[in-house]
Assembly symmetry: C2
Homo-oligomer: 190 residues x 2
């Protein structure tokens, strides 16, 4: 039997992404987000949600750009720390020892140590409530060579991305199998 628990945020594994931006003075900032996801295949685009009070919020509005940095779980201390403090008060790169590098394509820094980087141009803004959603068009993806498969694509088993749910971090588990194979037991196209 199902029980109602009211209008809440589902305790579902969400991504752990780090957003790179420049402030008005050109100082790099980085912030961990989880209210985020892929939102379009063509143009390739992702959506991230931020509270208006964050430093990153103002940075994206001014610079119209950001990077999405997909971290490996070995940086869990740094990732966690980037979600604990505001760039308004602290130089988060100095604090964590991570290295900002200017993107060649957009007006935002990326994090050298993280294996997958998305250069994003601001496409759309939706005010929802406590959070504002920013949609970014992906102009390029960069992948660290030792985290790429034979075709150069991100290899999740090498990247070891984090997931977040109910204020805990989770590992990604093993592969089960390919999409559009399991359903053939129930439906065989003619």
């Amino acid at each position: 039997m199902k029980k109602s628990i009211g209008a809440k945020i589902p305790i579902y594994p969400a991504p752990v992404w780090v957003i790179g931006t420049y402030d008005e003075a050109g100082n790099p900032n980085a912030m961990t987000v989880s209210w985020a996801g892929i939102c379009c295949s063509d143009p390739p685009a992702i959506a991230i949600s931020l509270r208006q009070s964050t430093y990153t919020y103002g940075n994206i509005l001014k610079r119209r750009a950001f990077t999405v940095n997909i971290p490996s779980e070995k940086y869990i201390k740094e990732i966690d720390c980037l979600g604990m403090v505001s760039g308004r008060n602290v130089d988060k790169f100095a604090l964590t020892g991570l290295t900002p590098v200017g993107s060649k394509l957009v007006d935002a820094p990326y994090i050298k140590e993280f294996p997958v980087i998305l250069d994003c141009k601001l496409l759309n803004i939706s005010e929802i409530g406590l959070h504002t959603q920013f949609i970014g068009q992906i102009l390029d993806i960069m992948v660290e060579e030792n985290c790429a498969d034979e075709k150069g694509r991100p290899d999740l088993l090498q990247i070891k991305p984090l997931l977040m749910a109910n204020l805990s971090y989770y590992h990604l588990g093993e592969i089960i199998g390919k999409c559009y194979t399991f359903g053939k037991d129930l439906y065989a196209p003619k």
Copy 2:
């Protein structure tokens, strides 16, 4: 060293959610989506992206409501099948043997067999490109009793949700630990 792979959709683990809707005639439909995520804490809201060609797209526009059904991996055949065929041509509930139940709160059906159900009212629509993003306000969450923790909240280790990346399904891995604990090694608030 990092290598560019161009403007693509990142091969990142994405959620596997099933969207429940009614068509104009009142027939229930269900569709698997992965371009999706949480987008606001207050009001609690989620975003899902659909191609305009899907049957679900028209259903949401007409009914202004949908359910998000978070499945357990034991239903992988049914979940996969719901992403392979269109409700325009096939009664997907008859095909899979899943059971549609009318939501008490919104004009949409949910799937009886799935452990976590979100009743969503359409809040906003963004045309992005190939995909259109629908933002739904969560009016209630229902959780199957054997998938709830002692506080009634969804227990991910019981639910066993699926993740999707690079057209493969993944298990969720084990818990690593609580957020805002790892970062304390780098930053101690005064």
